[in-house]
Symmetry: C2
Subunit: 386 residues, 2 copies
């Protein structure tokens, strides 16, 4: 077991390729973490998740504390054993989910009291309790318990919220049990106010964490403002530590954030889209419910090695969604996660090769272009049926 650390392999501009060393293995970065909310990446077996090349997955403190409960997961051997994932696991702190409960939660300076969305039972999260839960889950990476307002919000509200999060960050750090190969990330807040973001970075680096996340973005501000915030924030963050942009995003968001120095991502988009018939490809997105796919014998993408693309055609996927068969979400989630991992591998390889600029241009041109032409992806010859 080695120390928790991030090692830079190569840079191009502000973009970085590196390796994240943890107690549960080494993950090449930039990396995308599939979301395993409640101990499962929805509609996927862990073998399928592994087959996409994912190196680290995410779990949710809020969901797991309610069901099955943190102490149960501890008694069952921790989240790695429970969900059959031997690699590193990052758990969020529950802060973001609790804040999303709206009227169901009550915030004070010490923490948050809330009612479960499942059965209305009362629960409380504080920086100490959130950190303890993440220990019980045996998270490789523990996140600080924080608070963030939805944007847009008055500057005063963003400022007060950021400062509360920084006090909670110090308490989260105090509660964190240091172990070889495990780490804790602080979360930079401050909305789109660059001055507040800078103050937040200073507060967190004064405390000192194994990694730093950018929180409170992708909450309605739009891509341009998100990128501007990253432009003003990421360069202030420690160079030697991993940087994680929370809850982001589309393939285009990921590319732009890597160009701005981000190393880690998580998002429900590829999994949620997979359950709602939306496929990500090198040529943009496809809605498999659309009637134009009904007789299309081509794969989703000629460049994909997932089960959906190597064994089935668009017509079959269309049929599965029209018939409300579970295999539709299963195959399309698999495809989308495979696409996200392939995207990150390609971006990483381009950074190492010193060709991120060229690669990024080709990626964006692909997303903006039409579907593959018949020359690029011919319809296959079908075996005769009498």
């Amino acid at each position: 077991m080695s120390a928790f650390r991030w090692v830079c392999e190569s840079t191009e501009g502000r973009a970085r390729a590196g390796f994240l060393h943890t107690a549960h293995g080494v993950v090449p970065t930039p990396t995308f973490m599939p979301v395993g909310t409640v101990g499962t990446v929805k509609a996927m077996t862990m073998d399928a998740v592994r087959s996409t090349g994912a190196g680290i997955v995410l779990g949710n403190t809020y969901h797991l504390m309610l069901r099955p409960g943190a102490e149960k997961v501890r008694a069952l051997g921790g989240l790695h054993r429970f969900m059959d994932w031997k690699g590193p696991i990052l758990t969020d702190s529950g802060g973001f989910q609790v804040m999303s409960l709206g009227a169901l939660r009550k915030l004070d300076q010490d923490g948050v009291t809330f009612a479960s969305h499942i059965d209305g039972s009362k629960h409380r999260l504080t920086p100490e309790r959130s950190t303890d839960i993440q220990h019980a889950l045996d998270a490789t990476i523990t996140m600080c318990f924080d608070e963030c307002p939805a944007l847009p919000a008055p500057v005063e509200a963003i400022e007060a919220s950021m400062r509360l999060s920084m006090r909670w960050a110090a308490r989260s750090r105090e509660a964190f049990a240091r172990r070889e190969g495990y780490g804790q990330f602080g979360i930079v807040q401050g909305g789109t106010e660059l001055g507040l973001r800078a103050e937040s970075v200073r507060a967190l680096t004064d405390i000192g964490f194994e990694g730093y996340a950018v929180g409170g973005l992708a909450v309605g501000e739009g891509q341009a403002l998100m990128f501007a915030t990253l432009d003003g924030t990421v360069p202030l963050m420690p160079e030697g530590a991993p940087r994680y942009l929370m809850g982001v995003g589309t393939p285009d968001d990921l590319l732009g954030a890597v160009e701005r120095g981000i190393d880690m991502f998580d998002c429900v988009m590829p999994t949620r889209a997979g359950r709602t018939a939306r496929a990500y490809t090198e040529r943009g997105t496809l809605n498999l419910r659309n009637a134009r796919h009904a007789l299309d014998t081509r794969p989703l993408s000629p460049d994909c090695d997932c089960l959906a693309c190597t064994r089935h055609d668009r017509a079959y996927l269309h049929h599965l969604f029209r018939a409300n068969e579970m295999l539709g979400p299963m195959l399309l989630t698999w495809h989308n996660l495979a696409y996200y991992q392939r995207l990150m591998r390609g971006i990483r390889a381009a950074i190492v090769a010193g060709d991120l600029a060229g690669h990024a241009g080709r990626l964006r041109a692909g997303w903006a272009s039409d579907d593959w032409t018949p020359d690029e992806m011919p319809y296959p010859d079908l075996p005769p049926v009498p």
Copy 2:
């Protein structure tokens, strides 16, 4: 490609072990066919189906003619390519499903007119149309279009229905396109009336088919009457042809039917049970929603090599069903199909070894006994979580 034929390897009493040779491969019998209603075995990838050892799967004419439509499946290369199953496929004729529509269907001597359960659209099935659809699907085994009443029913109704089915069987045979390695099965009807069953067997053998099914059972008559009907019917059926008991059943039903000379089965039980938290094991069934599984770190069964049993514990499966996660039905369907295939392999091996009687006794004792004891299946040591 070889001729469609069933070859006997071994018998014990009336039970038979053999091989079914088809255009799409050889299947050891007795065999259980997973149900792929609408071009997918629910909650399973075809790789998962293959991993259980299944040799032949079933498709439904009624469901596939409505969605995506038989001509679409033909244009897409047939059902094998469509659902990624290279092995043999048996398709039912649609008769049973159409009869189940009740008020939505209207029967005449020529066929049945019915309204789709999906959108109410009008459709018609006749022996000729059902056979044509099964050709369009490229079924390895085509079933005769038949009609059967729910039991109990007046003898006159069962008799009239059987005779109509026999006239339809002759028309189905007339419409069947003979091809090397493909076969068509006639369906013995007659309820629990042994005289009518005998008449039905004679009518079908006079026509001549590649195989013979027993239909119209497991429709409410109970196991004892079902077995009595098999006792009076199966010995009359041709010895050199495969015998298929339609829509049956529990593990105990399968064992008893094999002992009475049946070679092939299909049933939604293992897949449907898997979606509703019910697991089949060598020690009877488990309901994974039951709270007693919440902290149980043992696998479902110590004898099972499925993904659920080799990677996960009962506590995790319980959690998945409580949290309504798709992975619960996915894993439990996999387990149940693996169990059914293992059951059939064990029964087949016992027939070949001349020990079916002993094996059957042990199977029945297992189903009747309590869960494995701690000595038989100890709780595993768990890795420490700080």
